[in-house]
Amino acid sequence: MKKIINDPATVVADSLRGLELAHADLVTVVPDPAVVVRADAPVQGKVAVISGGGSGHEPMHGGLVGPGMLDAACPGPVFTSPTPDQVQAAIERTNGGAGALLIVKNYTGDVLNFETAAELAQAEDVEVATVVIDDDVAVQDSLYTAGRRGVGGTVLLEKIVGAAAERGDDLAACLALAQRVVANVRSMGMALAAPTVPHVGEPSFDLDADEMEVGIGIHGEPGRARLPAENADGIVARLLEPVLADLPFREGDRVLLFTNSMGATPLLELYLAHGIAERMLADRGIVVERRLVGPYVTSLEMQGMSLTVLKLDDELTGLWDAPVRTAALRWGS
């Protein structure tokens, strides 16, 4: 296993120490139970926006904690959802009296653990609302699955809701906005090579030199289909078409296009793919009004990419543009 680590058992805790040292102006790390908290938390009168999930998707979520985005992130072990006591601790540390919005990616483990924490917090009279994001069109949302997974759209959701909380929206408004984002965002991803989880020690799946896995998740789950590897045009079309067909996105729609690296795909390739996606959208008369390109929702050293499209309106665009100051996303004053 090729890793820069000391011990698979302590990899998340060890990494959090480095995160805190690197960004002491932005975050405080509570070691046990592990929580990454905004340095100036709690912000009085502000809805606390909290997320979390398994580690290995960095910069999501710890790198997205800071003014204009998350108040806290709960990092589980690699690819394993956090536990309720982490979420409880996050709520306690960030509750400024206006309640907490939990942003949960739709995985059985994440949903169950956050649900337990929400019940416990409500029992202590803290107002808690939960939004579950499930933007991955690779999964059939039906009686026969656990429902769609939360993937790339999560970062856009966290940015937009974070901005709303920062400007003073109350919990109900934040929740309604979050649900609007979830309703308008769709994603799909693919892999050329699998990640290796430290405590497993071998790649999560095996792909031949001429194969790709389409419709993968972000935890090294195999995808829905293994196909012969294609060129960039083919890959982008294979991701973008189901995304656009699903909502559906229509001619004249204004969108945010998020071209995400799963970890090991170089920026050289990512920008190349982004350019292709922009042209495909332009060909359909869909207006790319904002974009995000980079490794934001990763899966350790998985090689591959995902595309996320969010339908914008003036309010969403304004909230996207609002100032943000986190380790990974930073703009405005």
């Binding site: 589980g76 959802s81 656990a146």
Partner: protein
């Protein structure tokens, strides 16, 4: 033969040992149709359970089960953490403050555990989850006369139930994302349930 707090604690230690020795097998099963962490998750949790028990065994079987529940909930994470945690929590609640558990209490505990897993996870038999092992185990337990017979019957039914998941297409949990590709593999959670019940049956429960 009485099932005291001590013997429940011993059973849980036996379960921890079996989880540790099957960690890699559970990881491999989860790698095939999930994300490869089930063995690691459970092992982390049961290691913490043993550490908690080492600090002193609680007084009653219910208190032992509750300690197991809260430790699993705060250490396992993933789907298995809340599911196993709820199972032990409900089992704890149902046996109240009995100092010793007889067959009726053990059956009630198993039923409550199953009820908790279903309440949280909403899975039915055939969905390719731990319910496919736990549900037949509860059924089998009902028809036995002693705790040890009952646990042996439950373990055997769980083993068969876990094996029965192999051809199934998953409809719950992470494996459901794979659709048809999930068939042909044993469900890791069903397997771990069978292993744990097996350790209860084989172990030092008197």
């Amino acid at each position: 033969m009485a099932c005291t707090a001590e013997s429940v604690a011993d059973a849980v230690r036996a379960a921890a040992a079996v989880v540790a020795s099957h960690r890699d097998e559970l990881v491999a099963l989860d790698r095939a149709i999930g994300d490869g962490d089930h063995g690691e998750n459970l092992n982390r949790g049961f290691t913490a359970v043993v550490a908690a028990l080492d600090e002193g065994t609680p007084d009653t079987p219910a208190a032992v089960l509750k300690l197991v529940a809260s430790t699993l909930i705060s250490k396992v994470g993933g789907a298995a953490g809340p599911l196993y945690g709820t199972a032990f929590l409900r089992a704890s609640a149902v046996v109240k403050d009995a100092a010793e558990l007889g067959p009726a209490e053990v059956v009630a505990a198993l039923e409550a555990a199953l009820g908790g897993v279903v309440a949280r996870g909403k899975a039915e038999v055939g969905d390719k989850t731990m319910v496919d092992a736990l549900s037949p185990a509860v059924e089998a337990a009902r028809s036995a006369d002693s705790v040890s017979e009952l646990l042996t019957a439950a373990a055997e039914a769980a083993r068969a139930g876990a094996e029965s998941t192999e051809p199934l297409v998953a409809r719950k949990g992470r494996a459901s994302y794979l659709g048809e590709r999930s068939a042909g593999h044993v469900d890791p959670g069903a397997r771990s349930t069978a292993l744990i019940l097996g350790s209860f049956a084989a172990g030092p429960v008197r």
